[in-house]
Point group: C2
Chain length 394, copies 2
């Protein structure tokens, strides 16, 4: 009889797979995914970039390349991180990954032995939970509020817990809550991190999608001890189908990521790296991001207005300044998981909240995505959800 590795005891597939299956049905209004708006993809420009790559450096696009990635792309990423996140870095500190999901997988493999502890925001990104579980960690959820992780709670845990090997956070437009950490919280967090010297994985897929107010400095920009690895991606500002992300970290830490990358898949595709790099040479990525911001801001406004109108007043939800998600909290006695089939019967889908708590619980919440639906669908879907919620009120 074939025996599989022990990791599968934790790694029960696959909320994300179920989601993708839901998304695939054309008659469902899905607020469940985290898909970028496909009508904004710069298809023609990427096609022209592809032609230029094949004309000018076709052999390089076809051949093996170095594990860390294409140098001009890493240089552009370093410059972009300086401009957008105030992070002083260079190409040597960047490793190209196959999406930032791969950065999460590698992070676990760089730091985690079976039974080691990972601290996460409560709630946190379900794809990170899944990636980390392959290394069989224990999760400790750190309480959060509207301003981010609560330092006093974090300190209590740091002071009393053995074998904390890594802290995973999404300080900007968090997935699933849409919340952004305040400046004060960022400084308080880094003070504790420096004191306890625990590596931090700062996941920042949405940071450039800010609709209003000022950018917050990245944790990495406040990092004086080389403890923070910053995970970035082109999935939300260019296209996800190229699978291009990156890890930015100090050399000693990045060397470990490189070693893992080499065994994992040798390198990310030469073609997609060069094509994205050429796209940035030929076109204005910032102008493209501005277009995305405008559309998503509008859709956020439409969704929040519809929630205000159609959700009963017992329901709370977050007001994100950017990103893709808002987080809905029902009265305690309603289970979003049990309510989901009623919603799907009305052709509307969300992600039940329990998936975002690695240790379970908080079933009265759910995550809503507003980036990929037109106005009328958003309103229709929220209205239908509101009716189901009302029918579940006591």
């Amino acid at each position: 009889m074939v025996r599989y590795a022990k990791r599968f005891e934790q790694l029960t597939s696959t909320d994300i797979a179920d989601l993708l299956a839901l998304i695939a049905k054309p008659d469902i209004i899905s607020f469940a995914g985290g898909l970028p708006a496909k009508e904004l993809f710069p298809v023609e420009d990427l096609k022209q970039a592809g032609i230029a790559v094949m004309d000018e450096m076709g052999v390089a696009a076809c051949q093996y390349g170095s594990t860390d990635g294409v140098l001009p792309l890493r240089e552009k990423i370093a410059a972009r991180m300086k401009a957008k996140n105030n992070i002083d870095t260079t190409a040597e500190n960047i490793l190209i990954t196959s999406g930032s999901q791969q950065g999460l997988d590698f992070a676990a493999r760089v730091f985690i032995d079976e039974g080691d502890v990972i601290l996460v925001e409560s709630p946190t990104y379900l794809g990170a939970i899944n990636a980390f579980k392959a290394c069989e960690p224990k999760f400790i959820e750190v309480p959060t509020d509207d301003d981010g992780m609560i330092p006093e709670e974090l300190e209590k845990i740091l002071a009393t817990t053995e074998n904390i090997k890594m802290i995973y956070v999404i300080p900007d437009f968090q997935n699933p809550t849409g919340r952004t950490w305040s400046l004060e919280r960022r400084h308080a967090f880094m003070k504790l991190v420096n004191e306890y010297e625990i590596p931090v994985m700062e996941d920042n897929p949405y940071g450039e999608l800010r609709f209003e107010n000022e950018n917050m400095p990245a944790l990495k920009s406040l990092d004086t001890k080389g403890l923070v690895a910053f995970l970035g991606t082109f999935s939300k500002i260019m296209v996800p189908g190229f699978r291009l992300g990156w890890v930015c970290a100090d050399k000693e830490m990045l060397d470990r990521f490189n070693t893992i990358k080499q065994g994992a898949d040798l390198q990310t595709a030469s073609l997609t790296q060069l094509q994205a790099d050429k796209f940035m040479d030929m076109y204005d990525l910032d102008a493209h991001v501005a277009k995305i911001q405008e559309v998503y801001k509008h859709r956020r406004d439409v969704m929040l207005a519809a929630m205000k109108e159609y959700f009963p007043e017992e329901v709370k939800f977050t007001y994100p300044d950017g990103g893709l998600f808002t987080w809905v909290e029902l009265p305690d006695y309603i289970s979003s998981r049990e309510m989901a089939p009623q919603c799907i019967a009305k052709k509307v889908a969300y992600v039940p909240g329990a998936s975002f708590f690695p240790n379970g619980g908080k079933d009265n919440c759910f995550r809503m995505n507003y980036s990929c639906m037109p106005d009328d669908k958003i309103i229709e879907g929220v209205k239908a959800l509101g009716e189901v919620i009302k029918a579940n009120l006591k």
Copy 2:
């Protein structure tokens, strides 16, 4: 102080990285890599395929796709495996991976807990050794000869060893030896595998690059109990820079690979999958492979003739029927690792043999690649190597 995972005690980087560094120097005649001949890359045809993809399905090339991969590509792979390897399979049994290196990484994660045993040919592919080490296995090397793994030796190990979780083999034009398993050995191997019910990873990157004699049936085609996973790749028959490989396995086993894939990087790039698929719609991949076969056969002939001429008769080497490599055996008292700097001083590089033995040893061998050098460089390089070897004879 940052503490890294225990796996780095085994995972000392990085013979491959050192190789890539060597390859990068333009004045070195490198027989060290395993690079396809870049002058054969179908750059213009792939460009046209890329244009067609963007014109006809640009949004799909840019958007997230399913974890298992693009359906028409998986259908083509299934048909190709039937035609080339006599394997009866369908798209449902195929998972697209980011090169077959990723299939190796996943194999370890599907089957291996720390301390579990992996059986490998002695010698075996160093990239597989590296990928597997991330899961902290023990390796047992099974003795091989010119016909492949020796069944009597395998049986002894199977009968007396606990916790064997997987057997890794490359039956066609093996890396590093260039040897191909005989039909009789394949049947004897599968008989033992069926008896002991141990999963087999059949790595087949070179199978289509046969220069003469008949194809051998894949182990997967002889698999009656769903024990064999077949790892394929487009790297050697199309281009490596797209990072496209696949795993073919029975559903229960493939589901585990899918779960790992989801956490690892969600999916392989939509663009490269669709572009390779379109290339096969628009052009004749078999005709392209025939061209590669012809060129590599010629280069093998040139290299083996040069070795015959310039190597002293104390040196043995294999006569591969296909693939990319020949394996050179020096007199016992010469260390290929100690001889390497003398060769590099003469601007010639190979891979010292010890890298291919996970438990060390056999330092008097080295691996030679003939796929990516023009005739004059092959002859010049082999001649220089011959001189160094002669200078090391007692």
